[in-house]
Amino acid sequence: MSLQMWVIDKYIRSTGFKTLKEISKDTGIQLTRVFRILHGKEMKLKEFEIFQKKSLFNLDKTLKIVSLANECAFKLDEEKILEITNFMKRTIKISELKKIN
């Protein structure tokens, strides 16, 4: 999946906004432009930044998992780290499989 689609996907998952109207209202991007972007039209840099900024709204959740992963790396033995790594890889794999773009 392209970076553009990833950031849109992250945005939709973070905000829960699904309709063009909701997304347009939240981002300030014109409705017809939102439609085109969601259908693969290349984003302008400014539009990308808007989506990225909005999708990092749940920054604290993202930071939490990163800080936990760091803590695991320090506190746990290699076997446990491998177990958690494998679990995370599998979870990402399952998520990617189920993503229909």
């Binding site: 033995d77 494998n86 679990f87 599998r90 794999k93 399952i94 990617e96 499989l97 189920k98 229909i100």
Partner: protein, 164 residues
Amino acid sequence: MSLVLLERVALEALYYGKKNIESLSKESLINKKILEKIINRFLKEDVLSKNEALLGIEYKKEKKAFLEIKKIENIKSEIKELFEYFINIYLIKRDNLQFGLKKVWLKKEEQNILEHHLYQIDELLKKVERQNLIAETKDYISMKKVFFWGYCDYRDLIREALKN
């Protein structure tokens, strides 16, 4: 190569014969878009072959992929994933599922009775499995029942929990 449940289901459906993606989707309940991703990966790893529209498992060579699938760590992950989904659905719709988890002290004769019943369950399932293999018409893979059974000493679980 380790398998996630959706990939395992797709492979299992193909154990019983070659299929096209439409029938694979119908019997596995997995939509075609997801199946395409799974199939592409398996084709790339040489686990499946495609002849016209029909997909089949490539049994011919001793595949690195098959050997990896059977590794203990990969099997463990698969069982954990399966059990996780089972627990999730059990806790939501208890009525339609059979599940028992008990921690009990057993006298010797009670243990013998239990082992006898478990043996009977095991024999029945083995018999059904054999019948499944030879049956001419097979039902959809998604219509199978999933069984977990077994018991162990609680102390073994505690020791496992205490391991570093």
